[in-house]
């Protein structure tokens, strides 16, 4: 689970600058496997949720057209040192991952 996501959250004044990298193939269902020639099935992150101290602040829905190994950058207001920012995702196969960062 741990290597499925990376997070960096830094405090700039009272705004948390959050950058997340998710490890995911984001398959469009259009790509052919170069070896077998078979179409690689659709496999992509559909939902991304961010929380600030457990409270939902961002709720995202994605298509397969978000780039492979998705990058996401967002900013949370009213953040303080010691606050927790968590990000979780769920894909079209029901696979999930989440990660949490504590603001310095």
């Amino acid at each position: 689970m741990a290597d499925q996501m990376r997070i960096r959250a830094t405090l700039q004044g009272d705004v948390a600058e959050v950058k997340v990298l998710m490890s995911h193939p984001m398959e469009t269902g259009l790509r052919k496997d170069p070896v077998s020639g078979d179409v690689v099935p659709l496999h992509f992150i559909q939902r991304v949720l961010a929380t600030h101290n457990g409270k939902t602040v961002l709720d995202a829905q994605w298509s397969q057209a978000v780039s492979k190994n998705p990058y996401l950058n967002f900013r949370v207001r009213g953040a303080r040192s010691g606050d927790k920012i968590a990000v979780s995702w769920e894909d079209n196969k029901g696979e999930k991952a989440s990660i949490e960062a504590t603001l310095n």
Partner: protein
Amino acid sequence: MTVRAESNVSRRRVLRAICATALGLAASVLAPVRLLAAEWNKAAFDAKALPDAIKGIGAGGIAESDKIELKAPEIAENGAIVPVEVTSRIPGTQSIWIIADKNPQPLVAEFDFTEAMEPFISTRIKMGESSKVRVIVKAAGKFYETTRDVKVTIGGCGG
């Protein structure tokens, strides 16, 4: 005999403890999913024509706005990785949608914000061919948009 009984009890206790931990872990992993507000908008994401995608997200009476800042490259050499950054200066911004007009399914992403968020998002998208990148913003119940032309050298949908 006594020893065996005791070991049984302790094994049961250990099993019970493991079960409790497993349940606790499962609950903590499942918790964020339960918070999700709406179902994934299948109709909008599956739409192959731009008007259907726009209808699918419930947008209407969309006004052009210069208060939406959309940063996207003029020329994207690799359509598989097109950086897109959106900042809305429209008060009361609730949602931001990113659309690639000529993608097989134009709607790329929806971001719903609470007031605790800056109306800003930065990510990377795939584009099948040169087209407009369109950002629609919902603010105080009304819809606004802005577009940028992005030239794609190598399409990024099959790769």
